[in-house]
Each structure stands twice: as C-alpha cells, then as structure tokens.
Amino acid sequence: MAQKVKKILAAAVLFAVVAIASAYLWHRFRLPARVHAGLPALPTDLARKPAELARRLAAAETLTRERAHAIEGASELGRLYHANGYLREAESCWRLLRAEQSKEARWSYYLADLRRTAGDGDAVASMLAETVRLAPNYAAAWLQLADFELKTGQTARAETHYRRRLELVPRDPYARLGLARAALQQDHRSDARQLIEQIVQDSPDFSTAHNLYAEMLAAEGRAEEAFRHRNLGREAGRFREAEDPWLDELQASCYDPKRLALLGTTAFQTRRGDRGVSYLRRAVELAPDDSAGYQSLGTLYLQLGEPAKAQPVFEQGLQLPVRGQDRVMLTVNLAESLRLQQRSADALGLIQKALLDAPKAYELHGELGAVLVDVGRIDESVKAYREAVALAPDDADLNFSLGSNLLVLGQREAAIFHLKRSLTLQPTYPKTLIVLGHLALEAGQLEEARRYWQPLYDSHPEQPTARHVLALYHLRAGEAAAAKKDAAAAEEHYRDGVRIDPDYAEIHANLGVLYLTQGRPTNALPAFEAYHRLRPKDAQSSLFLGQVYAQLGQFTDARKILAEGEQLAERAGNQVTAGYCREILGHLPPL
C-alpha cells in the first residue's frame, strides 16, 4: 500500500515537473509573440525625424523578434520613444516590460514619469510605490514619492519618505527642504527654520534654501542678513533637480534636435555647460541642414566665453541657404564672436555686407554700432545706433548704446534721454545706472547719484563695479559731511563705504584721518592698516600708518613703516611726504 502511494506521489511530482517545465518553455517560446503583441506600431511621422532615430527604432524593433533579445529590443524601443517625445508609445513599452519583468523597478519608475506628464496622480502614486518596493535603495524614487505626497496633502507620509531618502543620501538638501516644507505645512516654523539653516550650512550651493531663508529673515526684520542670503541665492544659480540616473540615462537615446537643444540650454542654465555643449553638438550632427542647431551651439559657446569655438559654428550655419531673421542672427553672432577675438575689421565687413540684404534688421544696425565703437569710429557708430533705435525703439540695450556714445560725442541732453529710456524699459539696467550715477556725481548731485547706484548695488551686490560706485557715493558724501564739520555723518558714510567695498583704499584713508583728527588713534589703526595693505607702494599709506603707530606707542612698527615710506616717497620724488616721514622718525624715542 505504502509503495503504491509512493508511486502515485512520484507520478504526481513528475506530472507537475513536466507541466511546469512545459509552461515555462512555452512562456519562453511565446516571448517574441507576446512582445510584439504588446508593442505599438512604429510612428508614422518618422520621415520628418532624423534618419538616425528611424534607424535605431527599426534596429530595436528587429531585436524584439529574436527570442534571446526580445526584452532588450523592447527596452531600447522604450528608451527611444520616451526620450524622443513618443510618450504613448513609450508607455506601451514600459507596460509590456513591467509585465514581463515584474522585479525590475525601472519600468514602473518610467511609467510613473509618463503618468506624471499626463497628470494622472493615482498612477504616479502607485508606480512610485512599486518602484521603491522593488528598488528600496534608489534614492531618486523616494524623493519623487515624498514630493508627490507633500503636494497632494499627505504630509505625514511625505515626511517618512523624505527621511528614508535622507538615510540613503545623508545631508541631502532636497530631502531636508521637503521636511522643512512639511514642517511649514504643519505650522512647525522653528523646525522648518532649523532645517533650512542646516541646508544653508551644509549645501551652500543650494540656491532655494538661501532664497527661502532670506525671506524668513526679512520677515523677522533682519534686513542685512536677508540681503546677504538673497545674494548668496543668486550666486548659487538656478534651482536644479536632484540627480536621477535612471531618467538621465534616457537622454542618451534622444535623437530629436529640438529636444536636444532644450536639454542643452537647460544644462547650461543649471551650470552643466559641458553637458550642454555635448547635447547641442549632437543636435547639429543629427540635423546638419538646420540652422537653429548652429545658432544654439554657437550661442552657448559665446555664453561660455569661447568665441573662437563659436565662430566656426556660426560660419557653418551661414553656409546653409538660410534667409530672414535666422540669417540676421547668425551674422550678428558671428560678428560678435569675431569682435571678441579682436577681429573687428572682419566683423565690420561682414555686417556691412549683410546690411545690403537686410537693411531693416535692427540687430545688424546695433551690431554695426558695436563694431564701429571697437574701431574708434564713434560718429558713425552713433549713426548706426540711431538707425537701430528707430527700428526698435523699445530695446534697452540699443538705447543704452546710443546714449553712452552720444555722451562720448558730448551730446549730453540726447544721451540722457536715451539712457533714461533704457531704464524705463529695464529698471535695473546696470550699465545705465552706472553712467547716470557718474553724470549726477559730476554735476554735484550726490543724492541723485545714490538714486542710481543704490538699486544697482541692491540688484547686483556681487559685481565689483556695483560695490565700487556705491562706495564712491559714500566717499563723496563723507567728504561733504566732513567739510560741513559733521564728523558723525562723515564717519557713518565712510564706514558704510568700506562695508560695501572693503577694497576701497581712499575710504579707509579718509576714515583713518577722520579718527586721527578726533584723537581716536585706536580707531584709526585698522583703517590705516587696511589702507596700507591695499596701497603698499603708496608712501602716504606708510606715513599715515607710521604716524598712528607712533601715537599708540608702537615705536618699532612706526620706525619700520616710516622708513619704508620715506624711501617710497623719495623714489617717487615726493619730497613733502619724505620730509614728513623723516620728521616723525626724528621725534621717535631712540632705540
């Protein structure tokens, strides 16, 4: 009896093994058919796309017919569709692959991305949940999931998932930002503040944290710190999304020149210039007859400060049979790249020739004006700029260029009209603010100068010129106050001046002199030390510093610095300063 049972069991096992093996083999055998049934037909508009895309799609499609490579082919098709804007076709591929390879997290992640594009929140949530279940160490997916939850009001879940991301990417600014925002949603302001401060400290290049922190500080009335963080935020550049290798790897499959141009310019905007060049080069290779690719690549080189690389790109673009605005802009950019290489004569010939074909193109007249300035022909440049402004009266750059060159010709009234026009069009146009401030200063209108320079500094504190001109205002205002015997106001202006531009030697000197005249040598010492540090070859800086050392009883330092000053003054033929140095040295106690 037992033996019979054993036999039945053995037969059953054998039956099951055979059944399972058959099922498996049939499943494998049917793979190409299943893949084909699940794949969409090739798009019908491929004739209008680069041949390379069509070729790769066809190759991938062929692969799907091979049993051993069917999955590989389907995934290649998915990548190609996804990266080249065939989103519905891509979705079919990812759905198919998700069914065939249910343990591969990429497929659900890509589906989440596509459903996100379609605004299908439920599917996004479910695909992201599946992704993190299959690939619990893929940090980008946790961030996506947490962001989705935060933005759909699931704050507690979002917090949990931001923390999971933080475990995978310690000190991650994106996760901390998410946690801070979740805290704000729950009115936990001090927690949010703490998290933002952590990001500012640990990730100083993360602009968003500086920007938010600045507004928090401003709301507390801490204007100076807010200003500093606004500036840090600006210097840190544009927000850029967190690294996402799975989505990034799709871009390698992009063969659409327009998409590549978009990727290239986005890469540049987020300070990934090299990557941008690579995308744009690929766009040109794929569409060598499209002038837009040359325009984008050449412009990127110009933005990266590489006119020598930009020049041949624009030249290639101009060899195409392009007309109209495209031709104008290629010519203008080529002329600019030539000018930047000190080849203004070549640029001039190029622009003059182009103007024969497009006499109404204000861009060409503007560029002609710039070239003529370069070669010192200001009269003619003004004429060119006048033409340009007549054609484009609302262009801030052109109005500034016309105004500044009219100024060179001494036509002050007309110059100021156009300079002010440029400010109407662009209220913080830096070059105009600088020039108008100087004009006001020359006219003795100190407060008018400040009216131009303060907003310049407020907008661009990172620019040395902006700092310098506002400090110059404070220098002059301090001098005016000192002349009126208003020492307190003078001191305030000088101190503001060195705070704004710590490298402004004259302000340090004036501040030091003011302190000395008030009998405050201790206060004067750091001012003169700064002055001497900034002007070590200036005998007067040695004289002032030596004098204050002497007053403070630092005779060794005084002796050394005054001796230096005497030598410098004599070398420069400045007998007066040399004499003062000798006189003070003579009054120092003997060694």
Binding site: V18, T117, K151, Q185, S296
Partner: protein, 435 residues
C-alpha cells in the same frame, strides 16, 4: 501488482503529454497575449461640435506698438454705465488702457495709467469705499525674467470715472504679478484689503495688505516661495470668510490655499502640486465648474517665458481643481493645449453647463495648425470635449469672457503678447463674437 513494462512506458508518456498540455494551456491563458497594444485614447481637438467666432480688433491698432505686449485684460463696467468695458495692461508702452464701451458695440480707448513699469495684471474694486471702482495694477518692473526688486503695487484711484490718480502703495519689492481687493479682515467700513502675488524670480512671495485707511496698508507675508503668478479670492472652505489661492510656479509648481481663520490669520495649505519642475504653471482662476455651489479652480500650465528654447511641452494644458469641501481639492486634467494661458469659464454653447477656455502663447508657431485659442465643452458631467477656436492671432497671453453685447451670449476678448517670433500673425485686443 506492478504494471507491465510497455504499459508503464505508455502511461508515463501519456502522463507527460497530459502534463505538458496542461502546462502549455495554463501558461498560454495565464500569461495572456501580453499588455494590450491599444493606447489610452488621447483627446484630439475635435472639429465638432462647432463653435465659430468672428474676430474683430478693438482698441489701439497693432501699429501703435509695433509688437503689442498685452500681458493681461479684464472685462469690467468701470464707469458703471451698464456696459462692459475692456481694461488691459500693455508692456510695450508700459500703460494701462481702458477700452470703454460708450454705446453698445462702440469702443473708445483711453490710456488711464502711464509709466507703469511692466504692468502684468489689472483688476477693479472700490478699495476705499468711495463709491467708484479703482483700478489695481500689478507692476513687475519688467516682464522678462529678472530677480531684481523692481515690482510695485499701484492703484489708479478713480476720481470721477474719467480721471485717475496713480498711487504707488508699495515698490522696490519682488516683481508683482497680481493684486486683488477683498474684505479679508472682516471690515465694516467699506474699505478693502489687498492680496498680492509676487513672482519675483528666484525670490518672491505672497502677501496680503491690510487696509489701515487713508491709503495706508500693512503687509503680511503668508508665503515665501518664489514664482507666485495669480492669487484669486473666494470663500473656498465655505465658512463665510474670504480665503485666497495662489498659483506658485518656478521650481514649486503648486496651488496653495490660504484659509482665512479670522483675526488676520491665514493657514497655508497645498491644494495640489506637480512634481514636474518644468510644469509651466501659467494661470489660475475661480469657477464653479460642476455648479455645486463651491468655488473650484481652473488652472493652465503652458508658461514659456523662462525657457531659453521656447516652445510647447507635452504636458501643457488645462485642468480644474474640484473643491471637495473643507479646503480640499481634487485634480482633474481637462485637456492639452501647448503654451496654455488665461483659464476662463463660461457657458459658450448655451447648454447650461460651464465650459472652459484658454489661449496659447508658446505653441509651435512654425506649424500653421498650431492652436491659439481652445475651448473645452462640458457635457454636464465634467467630461470635456476640446474644440479649436482659433489659430491666429498667435502669442495670446490674455483672455476674458463676458456678456459685452448684453444679449446673454458670451463674447471672448483676447490680447496678443508678441515678444517672440514669428511676427506675422499679430493682434492687440481682439473681440470674438459667435457667428
């Protein structure tokens, strides 16, 4: 008794074949034919049902501007003479203009605000209880991207329905994109507070300004995220106190609701957000789409101002956020429209349901079939059928719908923003009447 050898082999073979057959069958039907190749149906612009409009330019001619830059427009009866007028902001000349309907169908344009840098939004309200409608203007300083603090809140105080006194309530702040008046603080003196959206660029904020009387306002910042585009006002949570919403774009791409808890306290909560940093939020308006008495939000995404390579994105379009009560909203995609701006609502086809409409600024204008104005007709169950209304003028940023003709048939008014090429199909203010 053991089976004889041939019989055993035969049984084994038969068993194996049976097992294999079962395996094959199970495998075949269990795995099925694979995921269907059929794709989700994509809403395609439909030529039917037909909605035909006749376009009529009104107000200043295109030639006055060269390239008009209409940033926003609204339909209001500014002088309260019973005829709807058109108010608009124009960025080329930095002016606010009033196209007054002096008699039915007769339009006369007048500049009522000059030297307003980068005017971005206009609305009207009797801010100080004078009995006249003042004009509220959001001044960006410049329309194109800038992080500089060049924004201002400007009110054109209505002196006598003809003359307006320009008052700057706030300046040197992050660029202002929207100003609206509302009684947020429960006043009883007829004065109104303000809601202010400040896009800024990398730095911006949302605030409300409490009316302290005599044109003095006290600011209260309620959110410090950059990129606030619009801030429409409504009682979203149904508690009788006015709340406001904010569309916050840039890297955030969110709609926030600021629920009025009373005593000047506003609770900030996210109603919806996209995790696509490039979503391109461009417009937010209030509409009771499903006519349930609760104010819903209609919302376009199609912004392209910040793109160095301008153009459409596959996710641009129209959606509505259904107010499901308690300050909560449910997201519904309505349809695609590359470069979509200016969400509007009206019963366009007269079937009693709320239809939606938007215009486009950043479509692919090299394609002659690119759509510049699109409607979505509501079947009453909030199923929307897209209907193309226009292909030109191109580059439309502003739109509004109202009964300009006084006959109950909605008239559409659009504004052209021609900052980018091509420049061959330009328009300034265009009035669209149904055929």
């Amino acid at each position: 008794m053991p089976l004889p050898r041939p019989a055993f082999i035969a049984a084994l073979l038969l068993g194996s074949v049976a097992a294999a057959l079962i395996g094959l069958t199970v495998s075949h039907f269990w795995s099925g034919p694979g995921p269907s190749a059929e794709l989700a149906p994509s809403p395609k612009p439909s030529p039917s049902p037909k909605l035909d409009y006749v376009a009529t330019p009104i107000g200043a001619a295109v030639s006055e501007f060269g390239r008009p830059l209409v940033t926003h427009l609204d339909l209001v009866d500014l002088d309260r003479d019973g005829l709807l007028d058109v108010l608009y902001c124009e960025g080329q000349k930095n002016t606010v203009r009033w196209i007054r309907q002096t008699a039915r169908g007769v339009f006369v344009e007048k500049v009522i605000g000059e030297s307003i840098a980068g005017p971005a939004h206009v609305s009207v309200a009797d801010v100080n209880g004078s009995g006249r409608l003042d004009v509220l203007v959001a001044s960006m300083g410049q329309i194109m991207p800038s992080n500089d603090r060049i924004g201002a809140v400007i009110i054109l105080e209505n002196l006598d329905n003809q003359n307006f006194n320009k008052r700057t309530l706030m300046d040197h702040v992050a660029r202002v994109t929207d100003v609206r008046a509302a009684n947020l603080s429960g006043r009883t003196d007829g004065k109104l507070d303000l809601v202010v959206a400040q896009f800024g660029y990398d730095q911006g904020e949302t605030r409300w300004m409490e009316n302290k009387g005599d044109w003095r306002f006290e600011s209260h910042v309620v959110n410090s995220q950059s990129g606030c585009v619009h801030a429409p006002v409504a009682d979203f949570d149904g508690d009788g106190a006015l709340d406001f919403a904010a569309l916050i774009s840039q890297e955030w791409e969110e709609v926030h609701i600021f629920r009025n808890l009373g005593k000047g306290v506003f609770k900030d909560q996210i109603a919806w957000g996209s995790t696509n940093e490039d979503y391109g939020s461009s417009g937010l308006a209030v509409a009771d789409v499903n006519r349930d008495g609760r104010p819903d939000l209609i919302y376009t995404n199609g912004d392209g101002f910040d793109y160095s390579t301008r153009g459409p994105r596959p996710w641009h379009g129209m959606q509505w956020l259904e107010n499901i009560g308690g300050g909560k909203f449910s997201f519904h995609r309505v349809g695609d429209l590359p470069g979509a701006y200016a969400p509007c609502s009206a019963d366009l086809n007269g079937d009693g349901f709320v239809d939606l409409l938007a215009v486009s600024c950043f479509a692919d204008w090299s394609d002659p079939e690119a759509v510049s104005m699109m409607a979505w007709l509501n079947d009453g169950q909030q199923h929307f059928t897209p209907v193309v209304l226009a292909h030109k003028p191109t580059h439309l940023v502003g739109a509004a719908v109202g009964d300009l003709d006084g006959n109950g048939v909605p008239v559409i008014v659009t504004g052209g923003f021609h900052a980018f090429p091509p420049y061959d199909k330009m328009g300034n203010i265009t009035l669209w009447r149904r055929k």
